[in-house]
Amino acid sequence: MCVALPGTVIEKKNGYAIVDFSGNRVKARTGFVDVEVGDPVLVHAGCVLQKLSKNESDDLTELMKEVGAF
């Protein structure tokens, strides 16, 4: 139930955004996060919960290096 998916804001309206998930577009409330068009965001149950870091794969590679070096 805690499934949340990353998408991209393609339109910003009053209180909600249109978020694109690889072609699927959904309306998501933005009450908890300030978003701009182009922002990668995490959406859960029709609500934006967080903005994503734009360098997700770099973050993960860094983590792997860190864990490897523990």
Partner: protein, 349 residues
């Protein structure tokens, strides 16, 4: 990333340290672990246990019974996420009740209920508000809209639960757990620091993880390396911060009080729930006191599965009388339930 990932996989496969029981307390992790074949990479002395992290699985039968009772009432419609439809109450499920004439609607977002209520003003719409910290902000936003717009025909039947108190409950009960894969999307809201007191109290490593195969692998490797250390490691930094989403937490606090909560198969855990504040009780469809938990099948061992005491395949009903088509317990219903996941993916360890 490829070389780094190979090194992590090599470390995991060759791990020859002490035995480690790592519990994931998120149903989405349970599903992702099976889907990505993570257990097949791990040596036999590293075990992944599924904890009470699937909201549907831990909802007591009396809550389902109450939903069915409401759905059978005239001019009433119960609105729910699909996961809850087939969860057995003490006698039947919402899905079966719908077949018998109850009015039940499935939606993608709790906010969808607003349009339904506006279209049919003579009907009372009741949202089955089940979930953890991830979903609570959405319910708080819905309540905020109901209050601000004075919407008279929407109610919530809540069964809201929080993660840190139930993890505390498991650890205090002496569960044999050496580390936790902390729930990534719960932590988006709570922040990774929400798990720091538990990590310190029990000297256990917590790894906040994402949901892809590589993210899970790096988090498991990090937990193995931090065995015995009471610390929280954030392996999902693309969305999880130390303090979480402050606006979402404030909105939850505005509308919901902390309460004791009943967990299916586990009993009541102090301070592990949230319920609408007294001021907003007029929106509540009767959530208080729904603590009774009567199993459909007395032999069902969902409670022990949820506490990591047994693996799903150790339940005598698993795969025999209890299957996804004929679930006897909630863990076999939800796609995030551990029994469902083990059955569908033929998981053996």
């Amino acid at each position: 990333m490829r070389e780094e990932l190979k090194a992590i996989i090599h470390y995991l496969k060759e791990y020859d340290g002490p035995d480690m029981n790592i519990m994931e307390v998120c149903g989405s992790h349970t599903a992702a672990i099976a889907k990505n074949g993570i257990p097949t990479i791990l040596p036999d002395n590293v075990r992944l246990l599924s904890g009470p992290g699937c909201p549907v699985c831990v909802t007591p039968s009396s809550y389902i019974d109450r939903l069915i009772q409401l759905a059978m009432k005239e001019d009433t419609c119960v609105v729910t996420f699909g996961d809850l439809m087939r969860v057995p109450g003490s006698e039947t499920s919402l899905s079966a009740a719908k077949g018998a004439g109850a009015r039940v609607a499935m939606v993608y977002s709790p906010m969808d209920i607003l349009d339904m209520a506006a279209r049919e003003k003579e009907t009372t719409f009741i949202f089955a508000a089940v979930g953890f910290e991830t979903t609570m902000p959405v319910y708080a936003l819905l309540v905020d809209t109901i209050v601000r717009e004075k919407i008279p025909n929407i109610r919530l039947l809540t069964a809201l639960k929080t993660m840190p108190p139930v993890i505390d409950h498991l650890c205090r009960g002496g569960a044999a757990i050496d580390g936790f894969l902390a729930p990534g999307h719960v932590a988006v809201v709570t922040g990774a620091d929400a798990f720091v007191p538990l990590a310190k109290r029990y000297s256990l490593p917590f790894g906040v993880s994402g949901f892809s195969g590589p993210e899970l692998l790096v988090a498991i490797a990090g937990i193995l390396k931090a065995r015995g250390e009471g610390k929280v490691m954030n392996f999902y930094p693309s969305v999880v911060t130390r303090r979480g989403n402050e606006r979402a937490k404030a909105m939850i606090d505005r509308y919901f009080d902390v309460c004791d909560a009943s967990w299916r198969g586990m009993g009541t855990v102090a301070g592990s729930g949230r319920i609408l504040k007294k001021n907003f009780e007029w929106i509540d469809a009767g959530s208080r006191g729904l603590d009774e938990d009567r199993q459909k099948n007395k032999a069902c061992r969902c409670g022990e599965v949820l506490m990591g005491k047994i693996m799903p395949t150790e339940c005598p009903l698993h795969g025999t009388v209890c299957t996804p088509l004929n679930p006897q317990g909630a863990c076999m219903v939800s796609t995030e339930g551990s029994c469902y996941s083990w059955y569908i993916h033929h998981r053996t360890k």
